[in-house]
C-alpha cells in the first residue's frame, strides 16, 4: 500500500503572536513551529497501516524551506521518503490552491491512500483534503476515526454529531481526513532520527507540477487580522430564587454550554 500523508507546519500554540506589518497575518519571525495536531495522527495512522499491510509512507509538506523539519520529523518516526512542495508561488495560497498543489503532487505517485488531518490548527478551514480529493476525482471521507483496509477498498468510521458514528466503504485510491486522538502517537527514536538523514526528500515546484498561475490565483483572501476585543458583560438575573436558578441553568446549558 502506498500512502501519502500531508503534514502542515503550524505555529506552536504557545508562540508569541504579533500582527505583521501588513496586517493580514501574524509576524512569522517570532514563531516556533510544529506538526499540525491532527496531521500527526494521520501520520501515525499511515505508519500503523504500513506495519499491518506493508507498503510505503510518503510524508508530504507544502511551504518554505522551514517545513522540511516537519518532513524530517515524519521520516524519523518511520515514513520512508519525503515530498517537499516549495515555490514562491505557493506562499499565499488559499485552501483551494493548497488542495490543487497537493492533488498535482499526488498524481505523480500511484497512491492508494492520501491522508490529511481533519483541519489545521492555524486557519482551521478543514477543506484541503476534500478539495484535493475532488480535483483527483477520488472518493473521500472526513473526520475519520478508524480505517480498515481490504483488497481494493476500505471501511472507515466517521464521527458524526452527538456521539453518533457512521461506517462507510470506499474504493481505493481514496482521500481521508483524520480526526485527532484516534491512535497513540509514537515518539521518534534517536536511531530513527539518525536513519532519517539517509532518506530522500524530493522537491517539487510549480513548474515540475505543471501548475500555472491560473490554478494558483487565490479565490479567497484575508484582508485583516486583529485580536478579538476583550469585553466584560455583567447581567443581573432577576426574580425569585427559584426563577433565578432556572434562568441561570438555562444560560449555562444553552449559552455558555458548560453542561
Amino acid at each position: 500500500m502506498k500512502i501519502i500523508v500531508c503534514l502542515k507546519q503550524v505555529p506552536k500554540n504557545d508562540s508569541i503572536l504579533r500582527i505583521s506589518e501588513t496586517g493580514d497575518w501574524i509576524q512569522d519571525r517570532d514563531l516556533t513551529y510544529e506538526i499540525n495536531e491532527s496531521d500527526a495522527y494521520a501520520l501515525e495512522e499511515a505508519l500503523q497501516l504500513k506495519e499491518k499491510h506493508g507498503g510505503e509512507v510518503i510524508a508530504l509538506s507544502l511551504g518554505p524551506a522551514r517545513v522540511q523539519s516537519v518532513i524530517k520529523e515524519a521520516l524519523a518516526r518511520g515514513a520512508d521518503r519525503g515530498l517537499h512542495l516549495e515555490d514562491p508561488a505557493f506562499d499565499k495560497l488559499d485552501a483551494f490552491g493548497i488542495g490543487a498543489v497537493i492533488a498535482a503532487a499526488a498524481k505523480t505517485e500511484q497512491f492508494d491512500l492520501l491522508l490529511t488531518g481533519l483541519q489545521s490548527d492555524d486557519f482551521g478551514f478543514a477543506q484541503t483534503g476534500v478539495v484535493a480529493a475532488e480535483l483527483l476525482g477520488a472518493p473521500h471521507a472526513t473526520i475519520v476515526m478508524a480505517v480498515e483496509v481490504a483488497e481494493g477498498s476500505m471501511r472507515v468510521k466517521r464521527e458524526l454529531e452527538s456521539g453518533y458514528f457512521q461506517w462507510v466503504t470506499l474504493p481505493s485510491p481514496a482521500v481521508l481526513t483524520i480526526q485527532s486522538g484516534i491512535n497513540t502517537l509514537r515518539y521518534a527514536t534517536l536511531k530513527g532520527i539518525m536513519a532519517a538523514k539517509k532518506k530522500e526528500i524530493k522537491k517539487l515546484d510549480a513548474a515540475a507540477l505543471g501548475l500555472d498561475s491560473n490554478v494558483l490565483a487565490p479565490k479567497q483572501q484575508i484582508r485583516r487580522v486583529y485580536f478579538p476585543q476583550k469585553t466584560k458583560l455583567t447581567e443581573m438575573l432577576e426574580g425569585s430564587p427559584s426563577e433565578v436558578a432556572a434562568k441561570l441553568l438555562d444560560r449555562l446549558a444553552n449559552e455558555a454550554r458548560v453542561f
Binding site: 524530517k72 520529523e73 524519523a76 521518534a188 527514536t189 534517536l190 536511531k191 532520527i193 538523514k197
Partner: protein, 593 residues
C-alpha cells in the same frame, strides 16, 4: 587551517587564561545542529508526556513507575547516547548527550535517576570495562533492562573518598572477591541492578568493582531528603557479597582513576541540567510576575522585581555560554583521538578538569540563586507546595553538594591549573610578569567610554591580568604549601571562575552579533555587559582581599598598584541595562535565549 582545525586547536583545556579567543573558535548553544535539536525534542516530549504526567506517583515513591519510565526512555534510545556503537549504543557526541540531558532537568528527581544511570552508573564500564564486561553489561544498560548506580561515598568518607573502609578479599581459589562494608547516599540505591562499587583490596588497594544485586547486596531504607523526593537514595550494605574476579573494573589499586575521571563528565553534564533547571524556574517567575497584580499593577512592573528577573536571565545566558563552549571544546578534543580507545578519550576529557569544576560550581550557584529568587517572586505562594517554586528551590540545593562539593571543586580549580603550569604546559611566570608591567605602566584607562563588545573585551583583559598576577604571586609565595591556604585558593578559584564566565559570555555574544546582527542580539549584549561589569567589580574586590592576605601588611608591594590599575574605574549603568533586559522578558513572557 580549516575552521574546524582552528576550533580544535583553540579548544585546549586550561587555555582560557593564557590565550585570546575569537568567537569563531568556540561552540555556542546557537551552534546546536538540527539533528541535535531533534534528539532533544524526543527527550522533552518524553519528559512532558510520560514523566511529568506521572509525577504524583513518582513523588509518592512508587519506584515501579520510575523503572517503567527508564525502560521507556530506553525504547526511545535516550539511555544509549553515550554508549559506543557495537555495544548497543549510539556513540554520540557530548553536545548531543548534554542537550538530551538538559531536557531531563524538567523533573530533577527523575533526571537524577536517569542521569545516575547513564552517567556515573554506565560510563565507568564504557571507559574502563574490558571488551567482555562491555559486551555483558552495556547492551542491557542501553535498554534499561539493567539499571545502574554508583557507590563511592561511605558513612565515614564523603569528600575524602579514598578513605573508604569497604574491604575486598580474594577467595583462596582466586575466583572471586568477598566485599564487606557500607556505602551511603546511593542514587538509584533501591532500584538498581548493577552497582559500580569502590572497595579496598585487602584494606589497601582502592579498586572499582561491578557488583550485581544478589545475596549480600542489601539496600538500606529510603533516605528522607530535603529535595529530589522522587528518586531513590539509599545506603548499600555489602555483607560478604561475592563478586567474581572478572568483575574488577580497571586495574586493582587504580580505583581512584575510575572514580575521579567519571566525575569530570558528571560535572559538565550536571552543568547543562543546572542551567536547564534555572531557565525553567525563570520562565515560571516571569509568567507569575506578569500575572500577579498588587497595588493595581503587575508585580513585573516593579523595579525590584525587574532587577531579579533580569539577573536571573543573565545567569541563564552566561551559564549556557560556559556549558556549551566547554562541551564543544571537549567534542573537538575527542575528534582528534582514536574513538575506539576509551583511555585516549578519557585523557582528552581530563584536560578540561579545571573547566568542568568551574562549570559545576558556577552553574550550581546560579541555579540556587535563580530558584531562590523565584520563590521570592512568588511571595507566599513560593512557600507553598501547590506552586512549582518550592520544589525547584529544594531540588536545587543538592547540586552544590554532590559530584564533589563546591568547596572541593573550588580547591581543584587553581591547583589543577598550577599542576599543569608546573609541568611546563603554560608559562605563568612570564605571562604574569608581562601583565604586571603592562598594568604598572598603563595609560589606557579608557573603558569608560567603551560600550558593548569593546567594553566587555576591555574588562575581560583586565580581569585576566588580575587573575594571572594573583596566581603567580600565590604560587611563588606558597609553592607546595598553597593547598593549606584554602581561603587564598578559594579567592583564586573565584577569580578564575569569573574570568571563564566573562569570556564565555563575551564569545557567545560576539558570535551572535556576527551571525544575526547587533539588533537581534540586543538583550544578549546587555546581559553580557551587565555580567562583565559586576564580575569586574567582584574580581577587583577578590584581588584586594587576596593582596591583603599575601602581602603580609606590605603596602609597598607592587601587587597593590597593579590591582588598583586593573580594577574598573566605575561600573556601567546596570540599573538601566537590567530594566531593558527585564522588559524583553516581560514582553515575551519568557526567557528567549
Amino acid at each position: 587551517m580549516s575552521a574546524r582545525e582552528q576550533q580544535i586547536r583553540a579548544a585546549r583545556g586550561g587555555s582560557f587564561l593564557f590565550e585570546e579567543r575569537s568567537s569563531a573558535e568556540v561552540f555556542t548553544r546557537e551552534d546546536i545542529s538540527e539533528e541535535q535539536q531533534m534528539f532533544a525534542r524526543v527527550a522533552e516530549e518524553f519528559m512532558r508526556k510520560e514523566v511529568l504526567a506521572r509525577s504524583e506517583q513518582i513523588y509518592a515513591k512508587d519506584w515501579s513507575v520510575t523503572v517503567d519510565l527508564l525502560r521507556k526512555a530506553g525504547e526511545l534510545d535516550l539511555l544509549r547516547v553515550d554508549i559506543p556503537e557495537g555495544y548497543g549504543g549510539l556513540g554520540l557526541d557530548k553536545v548531543s548527550s548534554a542537550y538530551v540531558g538538559e531536557q531531563i532537568a524538567l523533573m530533577p528527581s527523575f533526571g537524577g535517576s536517569l542521569g545516575a544511570h547513564t552517567t556515573i552508573g554506565t560510563l565507568p564500564i564504557v571507559y574502563f570495562g574490558t571488551p567482555e564486561q562491555r559486551a555483558k553489561y552495556l547492551p542491557r544498560l542501553a535498554t534499561g533492562e539493567l539499571i545502574a548506580a554508583y557507590a563511592l561515598t561511605e558513612p565515614g568518607s564523603g569528600s575524602d573518598a579514598m578513605a573508604a573502609k569497604t574491604k575486598a578479599v580474594l577467595s583462596e581459589d582466586g575466583t572471586h572477591y568477598t566485599l564487606r562494608g557500607q556505602k551511603m547516599w546511593i542514587t538509584n540505591g533501591g532500584i538498581a541492578d548493577v552497582f559500580i562499587v569502590f572497595a579496598k583490596v585487602d584494606g589497601e588497594r582502592f579498586t572499582a568493582f561491578i557488583v550485581e544485586r544478589g545475596p549480600g547486596v542489601v539496600s538500606g531504607k529510603e533516605e528522607k531528603k530535603l529535595g529530589l523526593d522522587g528518586n531513590s537514595t539509599t545506603a548499600l550494605m555489602l555483607e560478604d557479597a561475592r563478586v567474581p574476579v572478572e568483575n574488577v573494573l580497571g586495574e586493582i589499586g587504580r580505583g581512584h582513576v575510575v572514580a575521579f575521571n567519571i566525575l569530570n563528565l558528571g560535572r559538565l553534564k550536571l552543568g547543562g541540567r543546572n542551567i536547564g533547571g534555572a531557565k525553567l524556574a525563570l520562565n515560571n517567575a516571569v509568567a507569575y510576575a506578569n500575572e500577579r497584580h498588587q497595588f493595581g499593577r503587575s508585580i513585573a512592573s516593579f523595579g525590584l522585581i525587574k532587577r531579579k528577573l533580569a539577573e536571573m536571565a543573565v545567569r541563564c545566558y552566561v551559564g549556557d555560554a560556559l556549558v556549551w563552549r566547554t562541551l564543544g571544546a571537549i567534542d573537538c578534543a575527542l575528534e582528534t583521538v582514536d574513538a575506539s580507545d576509551p583511555m585516549q578519550a578519557l585523557k582528552a576529557i581530563e584536560q578540561y578538569a579545571v573547566e568542568c569544576s568551574i562549570i559545576k560550581v558556577w552553574t550550581s550557584e546560579a541555579l540556587s540563586y535563580v530558584t531562590d529568587e523565584t520563590v521570592q517572586v512568588y511571595g507566599g505562594y513560593g512557600y507553598s507546595q501547590d506552586y512549582p517554586a518550592e520544589r525547584a528551590y529544594r531540588d536545587a540545593r543538592i547540586t552544590r553538594i554532590y559530584e564533589g562539593t563546591n568547596e572541593i571543586n573550588r580547591t581543584i580549580i587553581p591547583t589543577r591549573l598550577l599542576k599543569s603550569i608546573a609541568r611546563g604546559e603554560w608559562p605563568l611566570g612570564e605571562v604574569a610578569a608581562r601583565a604586571m608591567d603592562d598594568a604598572l605602566y598603563r595609560t589606557d584607562f579608557g573603558a569608560l567610554d567603551l560600550r558593548g563588545a569593546e567594553y566587555v573585551r576591555h574588562t575581560l583583559r583586565d580581569a585576566k591580568s588580575t587573575t594571572l598576577i594573583a596566581l603567580d604571586a600565590a604560587a611563588r609565595k606558597y609553592g607546595e604549601g598553597l593547598a593549606e591556604e584554602q581561603e587564598v585558593v578559594g579567592l583564586l578559584a573565584d577569580m578564575m571562575i569569573d574570568v571563564y564566565a566573562i569570556e564565555s559570555a563575551c564569545l557567545r555574544t560576539e558570535k551572535l552579533v556576527a551571525e544575526r546582527g547587533a539588533d537581534a542580539a540586543g538583550a544578549a549584549i546587555e546581559m553580557t555587559s551587565v555580567y562583565a561589569s559586576d564580575a569586574a567589580e567582584r574580581i577587583a574586590d577578590l584581588a584586594r582581599e587576596f593582596a591583603a592576605a599575601v602581602t603580609d601588611g606590605d603596602d609597598k608591594s607592587p601587587l597593590w598598584a597593579a590591582f588598583e590599575r586593573l580594577a574598573p574605574l566605575r561600573p556601567i549603568d546596570t540599573v538601566s541595562a537590567r530594566r531593558r533586559i527585564a522588559a524583553s522578558l516581560i514582553e515575551a513572557n519568557r526567557y528567549l535565549w
